[in-house]
């Protein structure tokens, strides 16, 4: 067991080493000094309160998307539609805020506009998620395919929206909506930064997910992923599971749409989703489907993006997109660790009882550093014992 632990640490260490080597090589290749680059990275993240705020601002949408994806991924429902759901949520939130504001003669108070934005965003994202859920349940359309394609549909719809019914009357270089009424904007949490109250929402959702993890519903989803008949016995039918999990992720993504408009940009932009939907999936997996892991991973992703900008300005030659490469290497590494842990014999781990240290327990893949009790990574679950003999 100790040797297994050591192997896991070795694996993790080699992933970290690989990231450093790749990053260093790329910086050298771009003709810069890696140390200067590193310094720029650190400064980009921490040199001023504003920069710290930017890291938080970036982590909020990724975190919410990832947290609300937990049920779907736990059940083995692979929805990659967060991008599209964010877009639709942003559109409905913006539209609703303008409409209600008009109803109040342009002077609607915040207590009205905030909930209106939140609810409209959630409704838009949720509706956008129910469509692929319906297709999956009714005609068994693969949800990966349908959500991916619907992302394009949503992007097209956004472009059309920004040129027609939500277009700003002013002359602007890029298509965008008019600025949201002042009262609709999310106030800053830390003065002098863009860090807004949405941060608290992440914490609330993380706590809710943490509590939900211990619920019967969570167990049913885990069973659903690998034991379809047993799941039926527990009442987790396919339609119930697909609808509920996709809806939760859609609601989360829709709220993110609202937050990006009301908290960050003050208006609806073409770039409202900006890859956050995909980062969310990566962060959910990186965080091992555990709330704490996800919050940390979201912060890390966001810091990487902010730091890369710092690196770009410090070195002058290294493009900020180096962050994407690093994320990619990291994800491959995490996938390797997860695959390694699928091996049942490899995951012998004590469980928190008194004589825990010598209790042999084989658990399914558990990412390093998470402390949940029966957290499982998607799809791996029970295959431990039942490799391939899937019913």
């Amino acid at each position: 067991m100790r040797s297994l632990d050591r192997q896991r640490w070795l694996l993790t260490a080699s992933v970290v080493a690989a990231v450093l080597v790749v990053a260093g090589a790329l910086i050298l290749f771009a003709g810069a000094d890696p140390l200067v680059g590193l310094q720029g990275l650190v400064e980009g993240v921490s040199s001023s309160p504003y920069r710290v705020g930017e890291v938080l601002v970036g982590a909020v949408p990724i975190g919410i998307v990832a947290l609300t994806l937990i049920p779907a991924l736990r059940a083995g429902v692979f929805s990659v539609g967060a991008e599209g759901q964010i877009i639709v949520g942003a559109i409905t939130a913006t539209g609703a805020v303008f409409a209600i504001d008009q109803l109040f003669g342009g002077a609607a108070p915040s207590v009205v506009l905030w909930p209106v934005g939140l609810l409209a965003g959630a409704a838009g994202g949720g509706a956008m998620a129910l469509l692929p859920a319906f297709l999956a349940v009714r005609w068994r359309v693969n949800e990966i395919l349908s959500t991916l394609l619907l992302n394009y549909l949503a992007a097209g719809f956004l472009g059309w929206t920004l040129r027609t019914w939500l277009a700003t009357p002013e002359e602007t270089a890029t298509p965008q909506s008019a600025k949201l009424p002042e009262a609709a904007a999310l106030p800053a949490l830390i003065p002098g930064t863009r860090a807004h109250w949405g941060i608290l929402l992440v914490i609330v959702i993380a706590v809710l997910v943490f509590l939900w993890n211990r619920s019967a519903a969570s167990t049913r989803l885990t069973v659903f992923a690998t034991r379809p008949k047993l799941a039926l016995r527990l009442g987790a039918t396919r339609s119930r599971t697909v609808y509920s999990t996709m809806l939760v992720s859609g609601l989360g993504a829709g709220v993110v749409g609202w937050i990006q408009v009301a908290g960050v940009n003050d208006r609806l932009l073409n770039s409202v989703s900006g890859g956050v939907g995909f980062s969310g999936i990566a962060v959910a997996l990186l965080g091992g489907l555990a709330p704490i892991g996800i919050v940390l991973a979201a912060l890390f992703f966001s810091a990487l993006a902010a730091g890369a900008v710092g690196m770009q300005s410090a070195t002058g030659t290294v493009p900020a997109s180096i962050a994407e490469v690093i994320k990619g290497v990291l994800l491959i590494g995490v996938a390797c660790i997860a695959a390694y842990q699928r091996n049942p014999a490899a995951v012998v781990r004590p469980v928190g009882t008194k004589d825990a240290a010598d209790e042999p327990v084989v658990l399914s893949a558990e990412p390093p550093g998470t402390a949940g009790d029966h957290e499982t990574t998607i799809g791996t679950l029970a295959e431990a014992e039942n490799e391939g003999g899937r019913p």
Partner: protein
């Protein structure tokens, strides 16, 4: 156990092997010599360490201590593929075929020549199949085969891979007598060519039928090592599990009203023969046996009765409830379920405790979470070993997993009204099998309607009061146990009886 010098080259010898999983000592100082050209039976009660020893030999587990030699040279395989390269292959207790792939593709995946072409692979498998005189579809995804066929398929893939030492972990647990006969003939033929076969089984008649050598394990220690000849079944049984209690006596039970009934069922699935107008009634206190060769529709019938498959026509009612209830509604109405494949009903990553408590997480659950003392009591009542509530189910031996399943379905559920069980004693040693049969009889005595299906006639005959025989998705015979001679049922199972309606008991 003398080994002639020319055979010496392929002798596998294990000396003083020990293996522990944390504090659990699965093997203690076990030695074993596997001779070429002989069938070596490895027997012992559930959890004795048979699978662990087999895995050590096949390179899947590494021993904590002890040495092995092959051909006199050190044999310490790092993994399964190294063992295979050195000619030792194993068919594990838990099947390892990839469900999405056909047998041919599975073979291409693991076979020695990874680039072998599909046509020659198929021909090779087909030839192996015909030598073993069994028929298995080589071209459909293995997930859509019956369990018996998947078991055979896995063996055939291993045979086709070619090994001088082949370890089969309970290959016959899910097979009927027909398939077992063909398989054994083939194994004997292989032995005549010099292959060594290690056969793990709980069926003592099989030991007497094919084994040359015998190793008996008990609580992780080798208690007998030697020739299988000259040992009576009773003696082997005593070595394995000690003195057996006498089988549960048959006491006639008073039958109550109909609890479980099915009318005019028509249903289809990829896994089993289509059901063609099946009627069934099981009364309170009755144990109904459903016999039939594997894939005659018994499995699909249980799936429909359990609410897992919606029939195209016909209805199922439990206890006068609404017809066509969902699986969860049936669970909450008191339907116990032991499927053919225990892996369908257990979650290996969850602890024994969570597995026993699983039904408290059902939608609208009637069963509540049981406290630790209750859980421990359940585990002990069903003799699940080790009875450690926090152990993950994957850490149990195959037979103990089966006991765990029985403990949940027959023990933890608040008084089942009906029991659906397919081969409930699969993989159990004689003592445990007898205990589970006793439980089923107790449930019937307490008023439950019990259905025991199997493609193994003995399993059905051991407990049933009335026996229904299925063939080709239809009920072809319906006899009270007293009239159910092996011969009569055997004929019906082979489809030889004419299509007498179920009610008509005058079979030719």
């Amino acid at each position: 156990m003398t080994v002639s010098p020319q055979e010496m080259d392929r002798v596998v010898e294990a000396r003083s092997i020990s293996k522990s999983f944390g504090p659990v000592a699965a093997l203690r100082d076990v030695s074993m010599v596997v001779r070429p050209g002989a069938v070596h039976a490895l027997v012992g009660e559930n959890g004795a360490g048979k699978s662990t020893l087999a895995k050590v030999l096949a390179g899947i587990e590494r021993p904590s201590s002890g040495t092995m030699t092959l051909d006199g040279a050190v044999y310490a395989p790092r993994d399964r593929s190294e063992a295979k390269r050195r000619g030792i292959n194993m068919v594990p207790q838990q099947l390892s075929l990839v469900g999405e792939l056909s047998l041919v593709e599975n073979y291409l995946l693991v076979g020695p020549r990874r680039l072998a072409n599909r046509r020659s692979a198929r021909a090779l498998l087909a030839e192996t199949l015909s030598r073993a005189r069994v028929e298995v579809d080589l071209d459909v995804p293995t997930a859509s085969l019956t369990q018996a066929h998947r078991q055979l398929g896995e063996i055939v893939v291993a045979l086709a891979e070619g090994a001088h030492t082949l370890i089969l972990d309970e290959p016959t647990a899910s097979l009927g007598p027909l398939e077992v006969g063909g398989l054994f003939e083939h194994l004997r033929a292989l032995c005549d060519l010099g292959t060594a076969v290690v056969l793990i089984t709980h069926r003592l008649d099989e030991v007497r039928q094919v084994a040359d050598d015998l190793t008996v394990l008990s609580h992780g220690e080798g208690v007998h090592n030697g020739s299988a000849a000259g040992l009576a079944s009773g003696e082997i049984a005593r070595l394995m599990v000690g003195e057996l209690p006498p089988p549960v006596a048959r006491v006639p039970r008073a039958l109550g009203g109909v609890v479980l009934s099915a009318r005019g069922l028509v249903a289809g699935s990829t896994r089993d023969t289509r059901l063609d107008d099946v009627d069934l009634e099981v009364r309170s206190g009755e144990i109904l046996g459903i016999a039939g060769v594997a894939g005659s529709g018994q499995n699909l019938l249980l799936d429909v009765l359990g609410g897992f498959v919606e029939p195209e026509q016909g209805t199922v009612t439990l206890d006068g409830g609404a017809p066509g209830a969902s699986a969860v509604a049936l669970l909450n109405a008191g339907l116990a379920w032991i499927p053919e494949e225990r892996s369908e009903a257990l979650v290996p990553g969850l602890s024994l405790r969570d597995n026993l408590n699983l039904y408290s997480t059902a939608v609208g659950a009637v069963s509540t979470e049981r406290t630790l003392p209750h859980i421990t009591a359940d585990l002990q009542a069903f003799d699940v070993r080790p009875a450690r509530p926090e152990l993950a189910a994957a850490g149990l031996s195959g037979g103990n997993q089966q006991k765990l399943l029985a403990a949940r379905e027959l023990g933890a559920l608040p008084e089942p009204r009906a029991v659906l069980a397919y081969g409930p004693t699969q993989g159990l040693d004689q003592r445990a099998a007898q205990a589970i049969r006793g439980r089923l009889i107790d449930q019937a005595a307490a008023g439950a309607a019990v259905v025991v299906a199997s493609h193994d006639l003995e399993e059905v005959l051991a407990v049933a009061d009335r026996i229904v025989v299925m063939f080709g998705g239809r009920v072809v015979a319906d006899l009270p146990a007293a009239d159910a001679t092996t011969d009569r049922i055997g004929r019906a199972m082979a489809g030889l009886a004419d299509d007498t309606p179920p009610a008509d008991k005058d079979l030719p």
